[in-house]
């Protein structure tokens, strides 16, 4: 599972790309758990970049909702 081939992969010489691969893979699994929790089937066709972006958005939205709910 990776952002792309060669230097876009988890062993990229570019540290930022390497980190994005790591966060992307984590986001991919987060998304599968979110789907299972919603009673949906896992989406194994989900891309790593899509998962990364969706996860960033989701985490930010969740934290905003959490802050708004704090007394």
């Amino acid at each position: 599972m990776r952002l792309g081939p060669g230097w876009l992969g988890p062993n990229s010489p570019i540290k930022l790309v390497k980190a994005l691969n790591g966060f992307g893979v984590i986001g991919w699994y987060y998304e599968q758990l979110r789907r299972l929790g919603a009673g949906e089937a896992p989406d194994t066709g989900l891309g790593v970049l899509s998962a990364f972006l969706a996860n960033q958005k989701n985490e930010s939205r969740t934290e905003k909702a959490r802050k708004a709910a704090m007394p």
Partner: protein, 358 residues
Amino acid sequence: MTASINTALTLESGLTFPNRLVKAAMTEGLADPRNRVTESHLTLYRRWAEGGIGGMITGNVQIDRNHLERAGNVVIDGKPSNEEMDMFSRWADVGKSHGAAMIMQVSHAGRQTPKLINPSPAAPSPVALGLLGGQFGQPRAMTLDEIKAVIEGFGRAASVAKQAGFDGVQVHGAHGYLLSSFLSPLANQRQDDYGGPLENRARLLAECVRESRVAAGPGFSVSVKLNSADFQKGGFSFEDCLGVIDILNELGVDFVEISGGNYEQPRMMDSEGLEPVFEQNVRESTREREAYFLKYAKAVQARSQLPLMVTGGFRTTEAMNSALAEGEADLIGLGRPLCVEPDTPKQLLSGEVAAAAQ
């Protein structure tokens, strides 16, 4: 009798796993905005329970809402209301509905709390994470009163877990979160009773374990997740791990889950951090290359009689059964395969498949 994935296991606390496959803790991120258990948790754990797993360790339940690993973590930082308690009980019930043991993982995220949640998280020392992207804030050193509150927090969570019907708690002492960072000579530069020699660095972990046991009372499983190493130069080493195992042995924990790594060196994700992995000097074989922490478990087994759960990389029944038969592991932890195929345990136990999804 030779152990296999189909063999039951009863621990010192009296807790029985009907088979040796255990869902390792994975953060769910499914709590509501007030960090409470939701119907999504129940749906997820019901699905896993139906899949034939022998035990489940929940994702990290935090003891402090200002120190989360993710915004969607469940939190126990006070006495739960009746409604909250009811949801904890329903969570335990659905997990146990098909015979699995249900264990709550309890944690404090420490300096690995995202900046979005807390820009100045509590940590053993003000040592920032060496990561790109500015997602984590500058930590501050905890006061002794704050340390005391953490110990009480672990006890409170264990008490709530027991009342709710969970079979046990797992104290999260791995992956760079608060207790793990206290163990690390890189992250912990304290000069007091909680820093310096290993005995001091392990003090907080030991006190949290002791408090959990006292708070929950007998007949309740208290286990620990521990890094085999942080895989960082100058960090928590395998030699340190063996020293902590001696301490946990004396404390009489129910079992220890062996893992490794942290956000800076995420070996638990089978990934490498920005800096090269600092390898530990332990011999490995082919089977151990499938399950990447097994070689450490084997060395731990030589030192202690504590039952061990090994998580990370196990995919084939051949490697799982071999590790169990050789006494290198007592429980097999599964994570990622359960995210894409919740029926993996049933399929492996029946022999329908010989390997879990990669």
